[in-house]
Structure formats: C-alpha cells, structure tokens
C-alpha cells in the first residue's frame, strides 16, 4: 500500500438542514499517527464534522474515503468500530460502570476481560473499585472518563473526541491527555480532538480552525 495514501480523506464535506448551513465545505486528510486539534467558535460545525466523519450523519455534499473506499460502500457498524466518536457529555448505559465498559464487548459478541477493564480504569485515574459503582453516583468528570473508556475498549483506527476533558480538573485532564497521546504514539491511532483550550491549541501538532457558515458567507460577500 502507498504510504502517502491517507487513512481517511475528507473531501469538501458540508452539511445543511433545509436552508440552514451547519458546516461549510471542509477538506482534511488523516494519516496514521496524526493528532489533529479541531477548534473554532460555537456554531462552526465542529461536532457536526466529527459526527459526519463517524458516519453518524451523512454530509449534504462531499465525500469521505476510508482506506481507499468511499465510506458509503462500507458496512456502517464495521466502519464505526474503526472510526469511533466520543461525545462531550456521554450518557451512560445500564446500572454500573461495568455495564458501560462491557458494552463494546457485547457488541462484538465477546466476554469482557476483567483485568483489561481494571487496567483501563487505572489509566485515567479511576480506581478498580469503580467497576461496580452505580452510574448514578459518578461525578461529571468520572462519567466523561467512563464514556471515553467505552470507545477505547477496542482500539479504533481513528478516535474522534468531542471536548472530552471539559468536565475534568487539571490533574485528571493531564492523565486523559497523556493517555490519548500515548495511544496516538504507540497504537498509531489517529486522534481528532475538539478543544477551545489555548494551551492545547499551542501545543497541538496540527490545528484545524472552523468558521461559522454565516461568518464565512459574510466575509465572502464583503
């Protein structure tokens, strides 16, 4: 395979609902090990772009090519297991933390491995005892980390993170960011992460800034 070939090629992707444009045309190429920080003002379509990349929304125009195949030709479930989107405020399932971490295993019809679940919890500063804790008793930051761990049970090729550190204090934010950087470096996972944090933006390898469609339209007409 040609090394220069991107893992995912986002070609002029835009999204509208009726007459309202939510995302102006965006192009982006993602190669193995890339770490892209997505930023921009509210309403610029950052979450929409990630949902389109995760195939949770179909773009109004444009094309997404994953490993040389148009994603519309790939089975949605199999694609999403490779290109995984993590929400900013995840809604947890079932009764306990275990129910949530076990879900990706159930989706793949596999039995969860306890030691892996515990290791994952520890990697984001969560105690192993947390496994049987009720989701009702979790803080916002704990929920956010459990939500992220769901996406990491089976390592995807592209990880899409929607402000996943927004509810975390500095210490836990560093732990999560360190885990994300380690995954990107060691597992060659492409990470596309939304953040408004100035430090994050300054330290990022690649930054993609989106503009709100109206602003773009206004600038074009000016």
């Amino acid at each position: 395979m040609d090394d220069a070939l991107p893992l995912l090629d986002v070609k002029d992707v835009a999204f509208s609902v009726g007459d309202r444009q939510l995302l102006r045309p965006v192009s982006l190429q993602l190669h193995e090990g890339d770490c892209v920080l997505l930023t921009g003002p509210s309403g610029s379509g950052k979450s929409t772009l990630l949902k389109i990349i995760a195939s949770l929304l179909t773009p109004t125009s444009g094309q997404l090519i994953f490993r040389n195949s148009d994603i519309t030709t790939l089975k949605a479930e199999a694609y999403r297991q490779q290109v995984s989107y993590c929400f900013q405020t995840p809604q947890l399932f079932g009764q306990t933390v275990y129910d949530n971490l076990a879900l990706p295993w159930q989706i793949r019809r596999q039995k969860p491995q306890q030691e892996k679940l515990v290791a994952h919890l520890e990697s984001v500063n969560l105690s192993p005892d947390m496994l049987n804790k009720s989701i009702e008793q979790l803080s916002g930051g704990e929920k956010q980390r459990v939500g992220l761990l769901r996406n990491l049970q089976f390592m995807p090729q592209i990880l899409l993170l929607d402000e996943v550190t927004s509810a975390l204090d500095e210490e836990n934010k560093l732990a999560v960011l360190s885990l994300i950087n380690r995954i990107a470096a060691e597992e060659k996972v492409v990470v596309v992460r939304i953040s408004h944090d100035v430090n994050d933006i300054q330290q990022a390898e690649q930054v993609l800034r989106l503009e709100p469609p109206e602003k773009e339209n206004a600038r074009e007409s000016a």
């Binding site: 509210s42 979450s47 479930e77 999403r80 989706i107 769901r150």
Partner: protein, 260 residues
C-alpha cells in the same frame, strides 16, 4: 333466556339523558351543544347502518362475506392506528399487517379450540373487539416509539458510535414501547370483574345468561385481548423501528438533535 327487547318508545325516552347533557352544556356555557348533537346523530346513523349490515351478513351467512367484514374492520383499525405513526413511513401498511396478523392468529386459535364457531354472528363481533384492542395497542406503541426515539437521541447515537447495530441500539426502546402499549390491556385484565363488568360479560348477563356461563366468555375475551395486543404490538414495533434510521444506519435528524 329472558329476552329483553327495548321498545322504540323506551329508546326515545332515554334520549332525555342527552337532553340533560345539553342543558348542562347550555347552563355552564361549555359550548359543547353542537358537538353533543353531532356526536349523537353520528352514533345513531352509524349504529343503524351497522345494524342493517350485520343483519344482512348474519342472514346470508357466507364465509367469504365474513372474511371480507373482518378485513374491513382491520383496515379501519389500521387507518386509525396510523394517525399516531408520525415519523413512521408506511404506518398504514405496518398497522394493517400487525392488526390483521394479531386478529387472524387469535381468531384461528379460538375457532380451532372450539371456543367460537366460524359463523358471522360470532366471528364479526369478536373480530371487532380484537382489532379494536390491537388498534389502541399499536397506536400507543407508535406514540411511545416517537417519544422515546426523540428523548434518547444521543444515547442511541452513542451506541451506534461504538459500532452497535440498529437493532441493538434500539433494544431498550423496543422493549419499553411494547411494555407501555401492553399496560392498558394487562391492567384491564387485573381489574376485570372488580372495577368494571366488561362488555361481553355485561351483554350476556343483560340478555339473561347465567353469570357463571358469562364469565367463561369473559375469560376467553381476556385471553384473546392479551394475545392480540402482544402479537400486534410486537409485529408493529419490529416493522417500524427501522423507520427511525436512514439506510446508512443513522438516526434520522430530529429537531435539536444535532448540537452545533
């Protein structure tokens, strides 16, 4: 059996009850007089027509005509159930298949077990009861599906984003919608005879049948209503939940579901 024949005069006198309702409406300025008169006129006309139609069908006693009447009942029930099926493409077809299947399966069991005979006098009233109950259950089921898909938009998206199939992502909603649609039928079965004497039983007792015989029919009705409600809702749910997704296994866009 003590046959009880209501005379035309008695019927006319019972119209006094409607006059009472009209007087209340006038006195309390409810503005319902027109509605009351219209609904009473409709009820009288509809029932007179149904009375003549049923009398003819019972007299002709033809199996095909009976089947046609059952189909007519199911079509009307499906048209009514469809009204609650916003966001569901082909809601009429789904409702018709669900209600017809529930009705036919239940009728077949009742006829084969000897509980009823395949004669219009028994099949048509029983079909009306079954299809009516299935119609309410399917309608409730649609309302629930719409509400739950709207309320759980992000939860479903999260399941899908983890690679779950549409069926797995909808699993909880499917179960909850079936359960909620079944509640009125199950609750009615729990309180039957304690809170109300149901139509079938009341009708038989009114016609002079021994209450101990009448309850046998009511027990049969309870069985058939539970059976039909569960069959029809299960069929309707499994035929309709995929309509909330696109061909790409994405949730269809609903108001406020997109974030930014």
């Amino acid at each position: 059996m003590n046959q009880h024949n209501i005379s035309d005069t008695s019927l006319m006198l019972s119209l006094t009850l409607v006059v009472i309702a009209l007087l209340i409406s006038q006195k309390e300025k409810l503005g319902m007089s027109k509605d009351i008169i219209w609904s009473v006129c409709r009820a009288i006309i509809q029932l007179v027509i149904v009375g003549f139609v049923l009398k003819s069908i019972f007299d002709i006693n033809n199996s095909w005509l009976t089947v046609l009447m059952v189909l007519f009942i199911c079509v009307n029930a499906a048209i009514n159930a469809r009204k609650r099926g916003r966001n569901i493409d082909n809601a009429f077809t789904i409702s018709f298949v669900a209600i017809l299947s529930g009705t036919v399966i239940t009728l077949t069991i009742l006829v084969l077990s000897g509980a009823i005979a395949f004669v219009p006098m028994q099949v048509i009233p029983i079909s009306g009861m079954i299809a009516g109950n299935a119609m309410v259950a399917v309608g409730l089921c649609y309302s629930n599906l719409n509400q739950r898909f709207r309320d759980n938009h992000q939860r479903i998206m999260e399941m899908l984003s983890l690679g779950a199939s549409v069926k797995l992502a909808s699993g909880r909603i499917i179960a909850d919608s079936i359960r909620t649609a079944m509640i009125p039928t199950v609750d009615a079965a729990k309180t039957v005879g304690l809170v109300s004497l149901p139509g079938m039983m009341s009708g038989l007792i009114f016609a002079g049948i021994d209450p101990l015989k009448a309850i046998k029919y009511q027990i049969m009705v309870t069985f058939m209503l539970i059976g039909t409600a569960s069959l029809s809702t299960i069929i309707a749910v499994y035929l309709s939940y995929r309509r909330f997704y696109t061909a790409r296994a994405q949730l269809k866009v609903m108001d406020g579901s997109l974030g930014e």
